[in-house]
């Protein structure tokens, strides 16, 4: 099912992901403004569409400063890691039949591996900055992302059990008759919450919480290095939305419209939902976040896995 022109797919996915991430920055600012009864960016180009481009040009012309007290090479490497791991995860996402870069048979595990390597970016940025706010942000990120990773993996295993494969194409094909969100609703909710925590979006943005830690792990970053953290976060949202679509909402499957359009519609719905969450929810305290993860989410995901396994064994064996 790999397309005849892998290089074309590769470039299209790379270009598409970066463009959509840029568009997402604009969409988020406009939507937040709409819900808060103001205009948002509306001056540059039609509907302010060129705002992200203008921001990017500004970032490129800013002084790219490495603090003299920072650990220079680790400081420079940290933003590259987040971009690398997030973009690498797109390798296994099946956008439509034939539009996939690599049809790995361990695709789900590859995605989990890449998202667990993404933690390094934030932790190392916090450590290399040699700044107490950045260090606190990095430590929060390490604890938060490690904890939420555990049940992110567990919440997916119910889906893997039902499909009988780690291969994302097989998982989409197994949803021919019913989307996995119906039998795996709990798994879907758990994965969604873990996904928000992994991308450090607002209810769970404690690693950077600007009201207490200046800017958290990226306090010392400027110019395009900061830009990479920023864009990396938005590509991360795109990735989690894509994974929700593929794992729980039938991927490219849908009537009438071509597959890639269905994929796009479903993913956009979740992107919008992510932005709505940011507008709607306050930030919890850090100990609340950790207690919630370990005492509620982990037992729930274990119970989900247990029940799914028992039902599958009893009725579909």
């Amino acid at each position: 099912m790999i397309s005849p022109y892998p290089a074309v797919t590769l470039i299209a996915v790379l270009f598409g992901a970066l463009t959509i991430a840029g568009g997402l920055v604009w969409a988020e600012r406009r939507l937040l403004a709409l819900w808060q009864d103001r205009y948002g960016p509306n001056r540059v180009g039609p509907f302010g569409l060129m705002q992200t481009l203008a921001d990017m040009i500004k970032l490129f012309f800013k002084e790219d400063w490495v603090p003299p007290f920072a650990d220079k090479w680790v400081f420079i490497m940290a933003p590259a890691i987040v971009m690398f791991t997030v973009l690498m995860s797109f390798v296994v996402v099946p956008f439509a039949p034939g539009i996939i870069i690599s049809d790995l048979n361990i695709a789900v595990l590859f995605f989990l591996g890449m998202s667990s390597l993404g933690v390094y970016s934030i932790v190392l940025a916090g450590w290399a900055s040699d700044n107490k706010y950045a260090l606190l942000g990095g430590m929060r990120a390490a604890a938060q992302m490690l904890s939420y990773e555990v049940f992110m993996g567990l919440s997916l295993m119910g889906t893997v059990l039902l499909a009988g494969s780690f291969d994302l194409v097989d998982i989409v094909n197994a949803q021919r008759h019913m989307w996995f969100v119906v039998p795996q609703f709990l798994g879907f909710v758990l994965f969604m919450i873990a996904g928000i925590a992994e991308t450090r979006r607002l209810p769970f943005d404690l690693p950077e919480s600007e009201s207490e830690l200046v800017a958290g792990f990226h306090s010392e970053y400027s110019g395009m290095k900061f830009g990479m953290f920023f864009v990396g976060e938005y590509i991360g949202i795109l990735l989690v939305s894509s994974m929700i679509t593929v794992l729980f909402f039938g991927g490219w499957r849908g009537p009438v419209l071509p597959p890639i359009v269905w994929y796009f519609i479903k993913t956009c719905f979740f992107l919008g939902f992510f932005i709505l969450l940011r507008a709607a929810l306050p930030r919890p305290r850090f100990d609340q976040l950790m207690a919630w993860g370990w005492k509620l989410m982990l037992p729930l995901s274990l119970a989900n896995l247990l029940v799914t396994g028992a039902v599958k064994l009893a009725f579909f064996h």
């Binding site: 003299p68 007290f69 650990d71 680790v74 790995l104 048979n105 361990i106 595990l109 590859f110 989990l112 591996g113 667990s116 390597l117 933690v119 390094y120 932790v123 190392l124 916090g126 450590w127 040699d130 700044n131 107490k132 260090l135 990095g138 430590m139 390490a142 604890a143 490690l146 990773e149 993996g153 780690f166």
Partner: protein
């Protein structure tokens, strides 16, 4: 395939050497992560993608993050690096070198002989790993899980504080018990060494 194998093998060896010789603990850990990743690539090339993925998720992605987390919390200063440099004296290399020399002699001997029967690379599916673990090796899995449960209970016991102790968390953190600033390996109270701009 052979070329990829040798490249990732060389990266693994180089990264491990760098892990041992770095004086800065975080740099050493980063090289160790690279070493684990290259071993994951080797597993993948040898036809064990499931183990390769677990190597990345568990070793590189979880255990090493915890190590870095702890080193970050320690906030090691310049003196720790100095101390580390003193420990890594030429004398301590003798033991490991003798052991490594034996292994190298073995490798040279094996390479100089006509190749023994080479096992064809066999592709191992995730399903087969699961069947093996919960079939013939079930006892091993159960024993490992009991060991981990013991560790978990132990960690809970060490981390547990009585509710009344939580009322006054700074009770044991007085001037008398706190380490004197500058006297320890840990940078206490100072964000950066004096004199740094």
């Amino acid at each position: 395939m052979y070329l990829l194998f040798y490249i990732s093998g060389a990266v693994a060896i180089l990264a491990t050497v760098m892990t041992i010789t770095r004086l800065n603990a975080v740099h050493a850990l980063l090289y160790f992560v690279v070493s684990l990743l290259s071993i994951a690539v080797i597993f993948y090339i040898l036809g064990a993608p499931f183990i390769a993925a677990l190597e990345v998720i568990i070793y590189a992605g979880a255990i090493m993050v915890l190590f870095i987390f702890v080193v970050m919390m320690l906030n090691l200063g310049e003196r720790a690096v100095e101390m580390e440099g003193k420990w890594l004296s030429p004398g301590m290399w003798i033991g490991p070198e003798i052991l490594a020399a034996i292994l190298i002699a073995e490798v040279v001997y094996l390479l100089s002989r006509p190749p023994v029967e080479v096992h064809a690379i066999q592709y191992v599916e995730p399903r087969e790993v699961g069947l093996a673990l919960f079939g013939p090796y079930l006892i091993g899995v159960e024993l490992a899980s009991m060991l981990l449960l013991g560790a978990l209970v132990g960690a809970y016991h060490l981390g547990y504080r009585k509710p009344e102790a939580l009322e006054n968390p700074d009770a044991d953190n007085t001037d008398a018990t706190r380490a004197a600033a500058g006297g320890d390996l840990v940078r206490a109270g100072h964000d950066r060494p004096a004199g740094a701009a």
